[in-house]
């Protein structure tokens, strides 16, 4: 493999990896606080992309306004999903909420088909993001650099919220002990709604970045990236924000390099990801950056 070909693959991998990471931090944050794998995350991701599309093509909003509007509406969707599908199950066994999450995921997918139509739609992109630059033999679009930067910025922002603000403190308290937190006078339901709003905003942001990179949206677009990001989150240690990003990066790298070095095995590209998940779970059940599992007494 020539040097420039390798660099091209590397660029593809970093872009894909940071997208996985971006989706994964949403998963991991909700899990870290509520111990719930929010399977509807991939669907909010899809809604985020669709809202931008409609904002631009139907309401002719400027690009930036459409993005901010979409993130806001998606957060409300997340809070709404929590209100109707998870909140009534707060004291039920964890498995009930998980099943409810899977149900919500299917519901949103199929509602999207009915409302948005099954046909894929093109996404308008600002020109400066996609102007191809040639560096020697390597072709890069600015977006490939913007995506990792956005991921980095969002991770730092999220870490700031969780570790430096009052709602963040409450979120961490809930993750330790929900009942005691309530006794301390924290409005638990408000904080959980805030968590879902934040998680959904992250999902929408990653959906928008994804739609910019792969400029075609359809109601099922959240399915495969959602699963992959879930793997990335588990890989990195679910619950750990830094771990999710590292997991996403490694997953992107492995997927792209598997095809680059073993082109004849390209059909097994997804299998690499899932085999990786199994190996990680066998060797290090808590993931790369995961906390040690300790039984609460």
């Amino acid at each position: 493999m020539s040097g420039s070909l390798f660099v091209q693959h590397l660029f593809n991998a970093v872009t894909l990896g940071s997208l996985y990471g971006l989706i994964a931090i949403g998963y991991t944050m909700v899990y870290g606080i509520l111990r719930l794998i929010n399977f509807a995350h991939g669907e909010v991701f899809m809604l985020g992309a669709y809202f931008v599309f409609f904002g631009i093509s139907l309401f002719h909003l400027p690009w930036g306004v459409a993005v901010i509007g979409s993130i806001a509406v998606s957060s409300l969707c997340g809070i709404f999903v929590d209100r109707i599908a998870y909140k009534p199950l707060r004291s039920a066994p964890r498995i009930s909420a998980l099943i409810s999450a899977i149900g919500v995921s299917f519901l949103i997918q199929n509602l999207a088909i009915v409302i948005f139509g099954g046909i894929p739609r093109p996404v308008a992109r600002p020109d400066w993001l996609v102007q191809v630059m040639k560096v020697g033999e390597v072709r890069i679009i600015p977006l490939a650099i913007v995506v990792p930067l956005v991921t980095l910025a969002l991770v730092l922002g999220l870490l700031w919220i969780v570790y430096r603000t009052k709602p963040g403190l409450a979120m961490r308290a809930i993750s330790k002990d929900i009942e005691t937190t309530r006794l301390m006078g924290v409005s638990v339901n408000k904080i959980i709604a805030f968590t879902f709003g934040l998680g959904s905003a992250l999902a929408a942001a990653s959906g928008i970045m994804w739609a910019l990179r792969y400029p075609q949206i359809q109601p099922f677009m959240g399915l495969v990236p959602g699963l992959k990001a879930f793997i990335a989150a588990v890989f990195g240690g679910i619950g750990s924000i830094q771990g999710a990003v590292i997991g996403g990066m490694l997953l992107g790298l492995i997927e792209i390099m598997a095809v680059a070095f073993f082109p004849q095995l390209s059909g097994y590209r997804d299998a690499f990801a899932f085999v990786l998940l199994i190996i990680i779970l066998l060797l290090k059940p808590t993931g790369l950056m995961g906390e040690k599992l300790e039984d609460k007494i």
């Binding site: 091209q8 693959h9 088909i113 894929p120 399915l223 390209s266 590209r269």
Partner: protein, 377 residues
């Protein structure tokens, strides 16, 4: 009192029997992907079936009733859909499906229940292979793949091809293999053959690898959902080779979805397109009637196949003079020179409708029907 009850009962029986004799409908089932990944294809075909039903809603003096079930782009749901049509709705024939994998799953059920099935645009040979009751209104992939190879090698003079295949889709795997066989036989070289899975959205690794091999042509027998996005990524990565695809890429919205990336794209398809020059009379009528019914939608080949499938079934019922499944089956098998929108249909020994292969190219942001190919098999 007693007498009145008896009279009432008799009257009731008469009324029920009367309506039954006057309007015993012929029940025809339709199973198509109306939701799920290829819903747009199924929806177009359903519109074609419904348009045909609107035009001919009576046969043998009995009304025809359509029962539509969504197979949700899922093989298991597809089998369930046909089961439901046969057992619950008691249909005498079924139409469907878009997508060979879905048609195969449904076909097994139809065959077991001895209910004739008319496939719409399912082109994989396995759909009708060894089936007594399964037919289709279109040509098959060995023929289509050979036509694409012939066109690429002979007409375009392209000697080096790469292929990108969806390994989770029977249609793509089949068509890619038939293309490869014919292309090699003609003297062409396949320099790269890579795979992906349905639902993938990142193809940069595969495309970077293909571009490094420098082919003249990339053949993507992909589904529509993936095809346009593959082309966009290929162009972004600097690919300047010709890209070709199969009938699954035939969609009226290809230009609005693919934009610049699909310019120059060539695909094989069934011989109908609104841009076709010398259209048969029936195709002209179809195009006009469609535009009246759906003024904001372009007439398209999937709707045309849906239309033809329904008409083939109705024609068979008429020829058979009966709506018994076995009689319909025999009449379908004997169909000869039936004038369809997508060409004259003769059902051959393997239950496929033989028809020539059309070639469509996107030129100047428009779909143009450019050629009809006789494949070198």
């Amino acid at each position: 009192m007693k007498l009145r009850n008896v009279l009432l009962a008799a009257l009731l029986v008469l009324v029920v029997a009367g309506t039954a004799v006057a309007a015993e409908p012929i029940r025809i089932g339709v199973f198509l992907p109306l939701t799920g990944r290829v819903a747009f294809g199924g929806q177009l075909e359903l519109e074609g079936v419904q348009m045909a039903h609107k035009e001919v809603s009576e046969v043998l003096g009995r009304p025809v009733e359509l029962f539509v079930v969504d197979n949700k782009t899922d093989k298991v749901e597809s089998a369930n859909a046909v089961k439901r049509l046969v057992e619950h709705d008691k249909v005498v024939a079924v139409i469907g499906s878009y997508g060979s994998s879905l048609a195969m799953a449904g076909g097994e059920v139809a065959e077991a229940a001895k209910i004739p099935m008319m496939g719409t645009s399912c082109t994989n040979p396995l759909v009708t292979l060894g089936k007594e009751y399964v037919f289709r209104a279109c040509f098959i992939d060995p023929y289509q793949g050979a036509a694409a190879a012939t066109y690429a090698y002979n007409t375009l003079g392209m000697k080096k091809a790469a292929i990108l295949i969806d390994v989770a889709n029977d249609y793509c795997v089949g068509l890619a293999n038939f293309f490869k066989q014919s292309y090699k036989k003609l003297g062409g070289e396949v320099v790269s053959e890579l795979m992906y899975n349905s639902g993938d959205q990142d193809f940069t690794a595969q495309l970077t690898e293909i571009i490094s091999k420098g082919p003249d042509l990339l053949y993507i027998p992909a589904d529509f959902a993936e095809g346009a996005i593959i082309m966009k990524q290929a162009r972004e990565l600097g690919a300047d080779f010709q890209i070709m695809g199969g009938d699954a890429m035939d969609n009226p919205e290809i230009v609005s979805i693919g934009g610049d990336a699909v310019e120059g794209f060539i695909h094989t398809t069934f011989p109908y397109d609104p841009s076709m020059k010398d259209m048969s009379d029936i195709a002209k009528t179809f195009t006009e009637n469609w535009s009246k019914l759906h003024p904001d939608k372009e007439p398209n080949v999937n709707a045309a196949l849906g239309y033809d499938s329904y008409m083939l079934v109705i024609n068979a019922i008429e020829k058979a003079g009966s709506a018994e499944p076995d009689a319909i089956r025999d009449a379908l098998a004997a169909t000869k020179d039936f004038p369809g929108v997508t060409g004259s249909k003769t059902i051959n020994e393997t239950h496929d409708a033989e028809s020539p292969v059309g070639v469509v190219q996107i030129k100047g942001a428009k779909k143009l029907f450019i050629d009809i190919v006789e494949p070198v098999l």
